[in-house]
Point group: D2
């Protein structure tokens, strides 16, 4: 190992992304969690306690509230800033700007999520596509789950075959599995603002890419599913494309004829593989749903919105903290530790 | 009225499409229902009785079963053939070939549904696009709900602006509202055979159209929703396209900003409009979800799978029975009687 | 007809209950709609316009907003008070108290919905059970959809067989069909406060009844479903109970063996019956799901939350406005006009 | 450890229950998996291969099919019988009778699941309630997930407070998470045969218990939820009951006020606890949803249908193979190894 000292990671917001980041960082040998934050004394805070994760809260009153609920508190968020080299910001929308200022003042690095705009940090991150752009940066941003999914399959395609244009429809889950409030229960809802923000978000990493997206929301919690049409500069065969993705990291091919007919069986596979929380970190492409016709390529891919960005976060920490210069080596290290 | 004698219509299969056809035919002044068939003595058969629809059954044993259940039977299906000028075949898959032979032998005309292949009849029908092709024909086929939806918006576009290519993703309902057996409950399932059959089905009416489709199934019962990209021969504006569809029959524009955000509110609108069975016979296009960029057009449309083909069936009867030469006049007559 | 002058009904709130009340009042020959209110210029306001319903709005600014959206406005709500004899209050929660004061000041009667507490009016209404209690009253309250459902089946049972105790589980729909925001998409959520408020709400009409309820929320939009256990003072047979409900108004028996297996087929039946908006005003009891064992009775019933209270509202108007002394006659008149 | 030799366990059917049994047995130090069977070469078979589980198939033709699909086969099911001391039968319905004969002929013990009738084995199993009844038996049966759930909470209640009668409503999931075929998508379906089979199934373990059940099916995949009313011989307090369940093995109390509002958050908790496949082996009782009023007790419990029986299967193996006489010791050993 090249690092004697482990990088100290704080996680601001211990929700869907925050807790997965905690698990993934904990699995690496060159970084460690020094604390997570939580604003309310829920069962997730109890679990954090049981896992031995130091828990930081917004202020002293909150601390009191947590203690009353029998939950151990390590300090306030300001205390966490002192202990951490880098904060992974997993807070909900609308507060990132304010936190960025706090991180800057405290002199810690910060990684934001895809819910924030590219303009917040000026740098966006995907391990395969632009690992080096975040090298040593104080702030970077992991693109959203859907954008990460699009880049994972499109970047290698573009590199090898040159893409002329992409059109994708994103069929989005209505709510995450642990959210029992939001719907729809029985409807399909289009994103009327066309093109949706996903295309420009991909362009924050691949600015040259000609991509347009449309999106609909549907009553499911498990995964997003993309239908994608790619026009390439030249003709390809279905086999060439499959061969390319077979060796692409964090892309996994499955087959309908093996019983993986829908997002339901993908999640079952993740559980069967023994993944933590039943997560599928890879982008799933149906091998028997890929078809090249001339220079046009059609395919379906599925994105596990809760987890596909997690390995990217780990790599981004390495890039920002100058821990590993080579993106491939970082990715391999991350993936091995996470069981991908 | 130009017809002294009303055309006598029999309906083989009194399910989702059959019962709507019965209602629609009953609303016309130039045709009448002479009977419907049912194979099992369910509540739908009871309703048919209560509505005074003569009920025909496969054979004498079934007749006995119906009578035991207190349901009045008018005869067997062979008796129906004798009374009818034309049979609207609304039977489930796999039996159409056999029925076609029966209709031929009995000397009645027959209209089949989109679940059957074009090759069964050699003629497929859409009122706007090819009304005359079924003129006087013994057999014709109404294309499926999704195909009808695609033709309703694409045919006028092509006529006015010339279409170079179309790519559509069909987000399909998992089951009809009255089907409580089929899922998925919580998954998205892609149609892996690419391109799906919908493109070729559109080509059974518009053989020159360059169209590719992909499809996914989602956990909803209300409507299908299409995301569509059309490349035109020349540039258009969003306004030109909207103006075109505003005067297109059986296409209805709605706005998200008026509260119609999803398929749920479309169905609510249909109920509020007093439509029979809460049906939305028109294809719904979101006016604030249409966008032309150069010669590329993006839009979302929703298709009520239970009912959009019903007015087409009525017009097809008129064409096949040589009741009205002018397609526009037939469509207007149909729509007025149905409250469209 | 006994009334020369029709009672003038205003509807405050043209949503799920309000628009159905408008339809039902319009079907009666002894009352008429003089106006409905709407706070935002949505598609529902457009439909109200198209139906010729005079539309009233909160104030002059809103009126301006409606006019800009092309929607005709008849005046502000204060103007409506002057035209109406009685207001059916279909506003959402939290504003009833304030409106009650307004109605009192304007000297109009007011009917509130089950979302409000009994204490708001001191009188609650069910046509079969306590029609006379609202006779001539200035204010009354229609109990909620679930409470109405429980009273419809329990009141006649109690009257004929005397009930010792009732235990019911209410399996509630997560959201109404036109609500695409609320969930859950994939969860069951218990109402942890035991017993739930439904028992006391039934007691606002039948104060002597020993009833306890529990409730869970599930991912469906169509209907509520109750599992009910009733302990009677003496033994009954299944047949006696079914015979009783067969002659009970606004209770409808269906059979699973006729294909009505779930709430989905009940809604299909309502559509097939030609009901406005596909409504099922009756409480549905599965005849083959009723079972008496000694003095204990088990049964399942389904409640169409959007519509079961509508006929009660019509009857309540008659009682409060002293239009018909006999509850049975009012109910028959209401039901006949509504096609029940 | 008292056993030098590990008990050899074969699993017939590597589906929802089979694969979880494999994981759980593998975690124990006194038993081992000698093989699992699979009839089709699906992704689950591939996973079994990757986990190093010897895979047995029905016959030589199937073996060929598996090999073609690149899946390693260890032999046919007859070969497995020779290696195993006991077979856990996780086959689907309708074949148990035939397999029982095969196991008998091969001289191996067999454990069946709750989908089979009690009469198949004459002995049914629950670790807390009747561990000893299966001692040394050749065949036994694990009661179903719902029955196991009912016994877990009711048996200690009855032992401590004596139960007079129980009434429960079972709100059942429509399909398992990995099943994307079955519905309902949007309906509630009652089990019309009253009382449902669950009461008699509880009585296969607690024959003296007076219990009646009703059931409905709803559109969710995660868990079943029970609403339960228990009448006890004498008055109890809510606190006494909660205290009892706090020390009951395989019962876990959660609180709505800690954010566990529905089955969705229970599954999230299981994932956060690091459980294999995100399983919740315990029956969940909402602490703030328990209420005792006099001698009547109301509570809600949730049952993870995929996994609650798994620890019971492990204990049943120990009882049948005479590995541990004391049920508490077996349960503790099982639970510790499984991380419960």
């Amino acid at each position: 190992m090249t690092h004697v000292k482990k990088i100290k990671v704080g996680i601001n917001g211990y929700g869907t992304i925050g807790k997965r980041t905690a698990t993934a960082v904990d699995q690496q040998d060159d970084m460690e969690i020094v604390g997570v934050t939580k604003t309310r004394p829920t069962y997730e805070a109890v679990v954090a306690n049981n896992l031995g994760l130091p828990l930081y809260v917004p202020n002293d009153e909150t601390a009191e509230e947590f203690k009353k609920a029998g939950i151990k508190v390590a300090g306030t968020i300001k205390d966490l800033y002192k202990k951490a080299d880098i904060i992974v910001d997993c807070t909900p929308g609308d507060v990132a700007e304010a936190y960025k200022a706090e991180y800057a003042e405290a002199g810690v690095k910060g990684i934001f999520q895809g819910g924030e705009d590219h303009s917040l940090t000026g740098i966006s991150f995907n391990a395969s596509a632009n690992y080096k752009e975040s090298w040593g940066a104080q702030f970077s941003r992991i693109v959203s789950c859907n954008t990460t999914g699009l880049i994972r399959t499109l970047y290698p395609l573009d590199k090898k075959f040159k893409i002329k244009e992409v059109f994708a429809t994103l069929v989005r889950r209505g709510a995450d599995p642990n959210n029992s409030k939001s719907g729809p229960i029985n409807a399909i809802e289009p994103s009327l603002k066309i093109p949706t923000h996903h295309g420009p978000d991909v362009q924050s990493i691949m600015p040259w890419l000609n991509i347009q997206t449309m999106a609909v929301k549907v009553p499911t919690t498990l995964m997003h599913l993309h239908t994608i049409v790619v026009r390439l500069e030249k003709e390809v065969t279905t086999e060439e494309v499959i061969a390319l993705w077979k060796k692409t990291p964090r892309v996994r091919l499955v087959k309908g004829k093996n019983g993986i007919k829908s997002s339901a069986q993908i999640m079952e596979l993740a559980r069967d593989l023994g993944r933590s929380r039943g997560d599928m970190f890879e982008i799933i492409v149906w091998e028997d749903g890929v078809k090249a016709v001339g220079n046009t390529l059609y395919f379906y891919q599925a994105v596990h919105q809760e987890s596909d960005v997690i390995p990217e976060i780990v790599d981004c920490i390495r890039s920002m903290c100058k821990m590993e210069e080579d993106s491939s080596r970082s990715m391999k290290k991350t993936d091995k530790a996470m069981g991908i």
